[in-house]
Amino acid sequence: MSVDVRTAAPGPRPGPKREPRPAPSGAHTSGAPAHDTGWSIGDRVGLIAAWICGISLCVIAASIVVFMALKGIQFLHLDMLTKSPEASVDQSTSGGFLDPLIGTLMLTVIGISIAIPVGVGIAVWLTEYGRPSALARFVESGVEIVAGTPSIVLAIFGLLVFQQSFMGVFSFTAEGGAVFGRSFIVAGTMMALIALPLVIGSTREALNTIPRHVREASYALGKDKASTIRRVLLPSARSGIATGATLGMGRICGDTAIVVILLGASMQITPEGGFLGLFRGTGSTLTSYVYNNSPSGEGNAPDKAYAAAFVLLMIVIVLNFIVGLIGKRNKPQWN
């Protein structure tokens, strides 16, 4: 058996090699021939199990990607992206998914534009101030708890809050005075909570990699902490913030529970009157469109569902690609 030792790790790691031979680009190839006495039965079983798991992971991953690509190419037509959905039993006349697409984009923008300032603020406080330290520890675990809270719980908590009468400005108020509690701004606010832990996490990570002497250099120039943060630390943490934001956008795009409960489940975007009516109105997103058009929803138009799922997957892939791109771009070097 001849397998490669990982190359991504810094520096070569010698395996139990018998016949070292020069390998291309620093890769170490180690021979573990059959007469190697170090391999007990248990080791062999473990090794085989690892191979089986690895290979089946590849197979499953490949089949999901290929399957979705095939279905997407089969069912996606360009006019689906430009037509609004219509209520129809027949799949050929039920329109496209322009409104859900716009809904997804709107919700993502609302959610992330709330999550970034709040998340960066919290991350800065945690890394740069963090006093009293007991409070900082509590906030840290609080962020972890928010990250672990199921989105369905966040959704119905949001409904509870935004149905209070003083929250009426954010959504539609019925004639009896009952607040509907469902709108883009409501759903977007709750979505921000999903993205928040990701933004906080990667911003903190970025801030932590900035060495102390950079801060001290800024203080030595007479800058106070606040302007050091604003002028030195945040610009350096930009790529970390962007990574967190992009990951957060991916999560917002993909969440269904909050949309089903907090976006009012109207097929087309239905703005309310008055100032910022669009944001107070209801709508749908690609996720809820897929859910409603799957056999478990009322629409039951699997072709449309596949097409919308493909578009959604494309959005997620693009976001993922952006994360990779940000990670690759040269970060500030501190020395």
């Binding site: 490669d4 990982r6 790691r13 890769a27 090794l47 798991c53 991916g250 993909g254 859910y291 799957s294």
Partner: protein
């Protein structure tokens, strides 16, 4: 100190001014950070207050089994408009059981699978394969659950219905439940596929971070690569495995849409006494129940019952975060820190 010269006074005033802005920023950001705690407190108070009637009417019976949960939910939904006549009778065991069963089994399978797959990716995979599989795993971790649900209900469910559910099997449980392919097994299967990439991504990152020296030390002692992996690297990344476990369990616990699509959406307790048929019986976890009944939230007693389900989920996720925290604290020595 001598009497301060003019410039010194200026400097002092300037420093004071600077201190004041600094203090303001600190307070502002601190308040922002504390709002997270306020949010959590608000969540607990609001959800539990709303859920209280459902718990108080049923007492400990809430957690037990008895009667059909779907009929009870219908009765609650149709309760009279008079607040005095609200129906609250509920025996929620089938939902709790379904949640625990599906989450538990899926997470158990995923941990084993993910650790092995992580080892494979880091240590044994051919270079070319690794370069492809890593981004794909990251992508799969980000795929929305509704897409998994769609594939589940359009591909896996019909497959199971066709190949595994015979007429005889259908008849054997026809007196309690209908088998149509949407089942616990499909739910567990899709959930496993869904949470594995999340765990693998974390485990791979952690394995990468194990210092080379440690593994080299093992290799120097004549230990083979598998043994070195198992005894050194895996032990070192225990906190990361716990972190992955907590994250994946949280996702599984809160998974509503996908499970409501593929796991049957019937308030039924799959009975292990049914043998193999057990795996093909439908179930519905707590989170799916809330999503399925989103329209009924405005009916007061029904909404309160839904908030009771949410309260259970909230408690479970708190408990989970706490367990993860305790577990990670307990191996502090010779391990790598996990976020």
């Amino acid at each position: 100190m001598e009497a301060a010269s003019l410039s010194d006074v200026d400097l002092q005033e300037q420093t004071l001014e600077v201190d004041r802005t600094d203090r303001r920023v600190e307070l502002l950001l601190g308040a922002l950070a504390s709002s997270v705690l306020l949010l959590i407190a608000g969540m607990i108070v609001f959800v539990f207050l709303k859920a209280l009637p459902s718990f108080t009417h049923n007492g400990i019976g809430w957690f037990l089994s008895g009667g059909s949960i779907d009929e009870q939910l219908t009765d609650i939904f149709n309760s009279p408009a008079e607040p005095a006549d609200y129906v609250y009778h509920l025996r929620a065991f089938p939902l709790l059981y379904a949640t625990a069963l599906i989450t538990g089994v899926a997470v158990f399978i995923s941990v084993i699978f993910s650790v092995l797959a992580g080892i494979f990716i880091v240590e044994f995979a051919p270079n070319r394969l690794r370069r492809v599989i890593e981004p794909v795993v990251k992508l799969l971790a980000a795929v929305p659950s509704v897409i998994y649900g769609l594939i589940g209900i359009l591909v896996v469910v019909p497959f199971v219905a066709e190949h595994f559910i015979s007429e005889g099997r259908k008849e054997s449980v026809a007196y309690v439940v209908q088998l149509d392919g949407t089942s616990v097994m499909v739910g567990i299967f899709i959930l496993t596929i869904m949470i594995c990439p999340i765990m693998i991504a974390i485990i791979v990152d952690a394995l990468r971070a194990v210092p080379n020296k440690w593994v080299e030390g093992a290799a120097a002692l004549g230990v083979n690569r598998w043994r070195a992996m198992r005894t050194v690297s895996l032990r070192a990344i225990r906190p990361a495995i716990v972190a992955a476990l907590v994250l994946a369990t949280a996702r599984a616990l809160g998974e509503a849409i996908m499970l409501s699509m593929v796991a049957g959406s019937v308030g039924f307790s799959p009975n292990p006494m049914d043998g193999l048929t057990f795996f093909f019986e439908p179930a519905r976890p707590l989170a799916s129940t809330i999503v399925d009944n989103a329209e009924g939230l405005s009916v007061v007693p029904f909404g309160q019952t839904m908030y009771a389900f949410a309260a259970i989920l909230l408690i479970s996720s708190f408990f989970l975060s706490f367990t993860g925290w305790v577990a990670r604290r307990s191996f502090s020595k010779y391990t790598l820190g996990a976020r």
